[in-house]
Subunit: 227 residues, 2 copies
């Protein structure tokens, strides 16, 4: 039985836009493991009951269900040792990369693009999304992103650790990408899929890195539906 | 022959204050490797000629000279495999921790404490330090730190990735510290040794982590001369 990955989408079943789903999708891609994408929407918690979970990604591998992108990365390394390693037997420092990504890259980008998401959603999940996100941000989503052009320079400046980390290396993983690259790239794919905003300037070393990530596996990520 | 570590000091030969020297000092400490500290001052480049280098730390292990804290960490893992691992066979993600530390933790803290360093220096190295640092900051050092009380809240906020990374873990290395902890702790030791400024609030999880680091090896770092 092949691998299946439950992934978040809106109306369009092939427009996968969760940053965490993109982490798992890229992890499978780096390992060269083919998988079937199973579209899932915010309100379809019943469809994940088999995994005793209520969020995606969920990986299904035969009779095993593995929820949570971090658990999926560890599961894939443990289960498919003949494939390129994601965490190289030592997950701890990748938790730091995830912490930086979540608090800086992802928290910042959400304030630039969140208002671009509602038009992608179907009428069933739209109320859930609007209510939960407006509660999270404490204001209408259009207000969150209203001054995004003003915020963009400070956001780009906040990515400086990534530029420093890429000095002399093609990927955070070194000569080849690893799970550190999946984590940060997942966030940029989220933005790319849902928003027309040019988050990165063309001469930014992070832009060049993102291009390399987009090119992996015959352009898998580059060919994904985007804005 | 025992290990020797050339470390930066000012007038007081036991007040070691380079963040990079502290990385190596903590790396040796985590490995349980005894070493002799060799005091070195900014202008004593001649004394490092044997290592074909002009900065500290320099590790001397018998007839081997290893300059640069990053090279020292890799050398120690390769040369003393029976000791606790610093990089767990995969240095790449630690370069990200270093990049974050250098661009956020260290760059930020230098603007809070740099003016506390000159009084610690001898008359030989004082002109070198003043000239090179005032050139780097583009202003007198007293001006750099003049508004440090105003800058402190934003600096503390910039450390949020570290708080996130420590959730559910005692150290960045997990249950035990590794080189990720050495990197960030080195910066905080620099501040502790040269400045009376309370960089961290007492209820900050990073403060609790720093206390754990200070306690390691019978309080080696806690017992170091500080302000």
């Amino acid at each position: 039985m092949g691998l299946k990955l439950f992934e978040l989408c809106g109306q369009d079943p092939v427009r996968v836009f969760s940053p965490f789903c993109w982490r798992s999708r890229m992890a499978l891609t780096l390992k060269g493991l083919p998988f079937e994408s199973v579209p899932w929407r915010f309100t379809e918690t019943d469809r994940l009951a088999f995994a005793q979970h209520d969020k995606v990604p969920v990986l299904v591998d035969g009779d095993r269900a593995v929820p949570d992108s971090w658990a999926i990365a560890q599961y894939l390394d443990a289960t498919y040792p003949g494939t390129p390693s994601l965490l190289h037997g030592n997950p701890e420092p990748y938790l730091f990369v995830a912490a930086w990504n979540d608090t800086v890259v992802q928290a910042g980008i959400s304030r630039l693009i969140v208002s671009d998401i509602p038009p992608l959603l179907g009428e069933k999940e739209l109320p859930y999304f609007m209510e939960s996100r407006e509660k999270r941000f404490g204001m209408p989503l259009a207000e969150v992103t209203a001054d995004r052009d003003v915020k963009l320079p400070a956001y780009r400046a906040s990515l400086q650790p990534m530029r420093q980390a890429l000095k002399g290396r093609d990927f955070l993983g070194g000569a080849a990408p690893d799970y550190a690259d999946c984590i940060v790239f997942g966030t940029f794919m989220w933005a790319r899929v849902v928003s027309p905003l040019a988050v990165l300037e063309a001469d930014d070393p992070i832009h060049a890195w993102r291009e390399r990530m987009l090119d992996l596996a015959g352009g898998m990520a580059r060919n994904a539906p985007c804005c």
